[in-house]
């Protein structure tokens, strides 16, 4: 009989312990009479945006025309100057062409310098851009 009572007691203790673990694992326990709400998502949908792949790479820097795009913020120009210096040191026959952006966060083709930018982009083999922010 005493073994039976011990078994019942152990089972009860185990059940209570498991319940406590379950309770403790919920940060916010639900009270029996607490209202439950179904709520809507504030996250907006987006229309599919067509994507395209990256432009093909160049086989090497030697003999190439490299555009250096400085994005308006003040570190961009000195960064491009350092890049240009190193390019010319390592690849003496490289040509570099700097372009300073017109306005921050505005695509160049939407600025007054659209034609100048387009001509610059068409005239180089590859571009390195610096975000000086």
């Amino acid at each position: 009989m005493s073994r039976f009572i011990k078994l019942i007691a152990m089972t009860a203790i185990t059940i209570i312990a498991l319940s406590s673990i379950t309770y403790a694992s919920e940060r916010v326990a639900v009270q029996a009479d607490e209202p439950v709400y179904e709520v809507l998502s504030p996250w907006a949908g987006v229309d599919p945006i067509p994507v395209r792949g990256l432009s093909a790479r160049i086989d090497s820097i030697s003999g190439k025309k490299i555009g250096l795009f400085a994005n308006f913020k003040r570190a961009a120009r000195p960064i491009m100057a350092e890049v240009e210096k190193r390019l010319k040191e390592r690849f003496p026959d490289v040509e570099t062409f700097l372009f300073d952006s017109t306005l921050p966060n505005v695509t160049e083709t939407e600025t007054v310098n659209k034609e100048k930018f387009t001509a610059w982009a068409k005239g180089v083999d590859a571009v390195i851009a610096a975000v000086g922010d």
Partner: protein, 385 residues
Amino acid sequence: MPGVRALGTTILCESTDAENISKGIDEVFDEIIAALTRPLTDDEKNPKINTITEPKIAFKGTYDQINEFYYRKGWGDGLPLVPPTQARVDEMMKGTDLAPDHVVVKIIPRMGKATIEKIAINAVMAGALPTHMPVLIAAVEAVTDPGTRFDTFEVSTGSWAPLLIINGPIRNDIHINCSSGMMSPGNIANSAIGRALGLIVKNIGGARKGIEDMGTLGDPLKYSLVIGENEEGSPWEPLHVEFGYKKAQSTVTVMFPNRYTQTIPAQTTAQGVAETLAGMNPIALSTLIVIPDHAKIFSKEGWSKERVKEFIIQGAKESNNLRPGRLKDEDFAIVVAGGPGVWMGLLASAGGFGNSFITREIRLPKNWDGLKTKYGTMVPVYLKY
């Protein structure tokens, strides 16, 4: 174009330190060369976009569970949210005649569609009333107008916050505080409209703190910065009339300051107040807040708003302006607002980005009178002691 070959460096933000820049480039120069010459992978040739969609019903739970869920999703602003149930959202949408699926604008950077329903959901979360929806819709239109340079200011390291200046009869309809403590917490309209706008740009536009929103320090004004012009206390024409609207029209005007200062005039004469206003150095783009008492001093001594502005322009130093050139009339606005007292305020943004004050008319639904009756009594009544 996803998957652009981008390299991080150890160069400090806007660094002017030649050694820091040189070292930073040294560390990544080989990677720069590799990025230009290493052949493209299949994914880079044919990228696929992972479009994240959320179900219409986001969650089911108690008030606390909802708040925890939304906070963990990054949909909140750190304060408790009002659960956006369908019933609450339907009620909120009574504040406009536009259809729930009408797209007001697409908001960067995700180009999320700001439908009337999504605006309403975020408005409910912020604790706004249906009578605030017309202002919110106009504010979303104004904020996202390219002229505000929202694309720059929303995500800038400068932590710029949208200032909404409300003009016209709607101020009194929905109890926009234009007087004492207008920028302090305590008025539902001033607080909830601004808060809702913050949730909208975050949850619809998708600007995440530290990922797209790179504000270095952050800005408490991002919680809400909504004021009404104290047109009744002003001897001058209100801001929206200055901008070409009729006095009877209601409008919202937007700019993005990140600096707010207050001061008091050395002398309470027109000259003294003008000198102090000029001394606050309103650069392009700024809003000067002149209290009604000072506006009346100006008027009594024959100073129009134009004369005050001209005085400030004449005294402005070109070197203080953040953009090239002297301060111009369109670079700053004077708004008469605030309560009795002696303080004046300056909210300063930055010019030179092609930005300007943008104003939009607030359009009311057909049942506006009914909404005003239902929600018009929502004003605090302090205990007497």
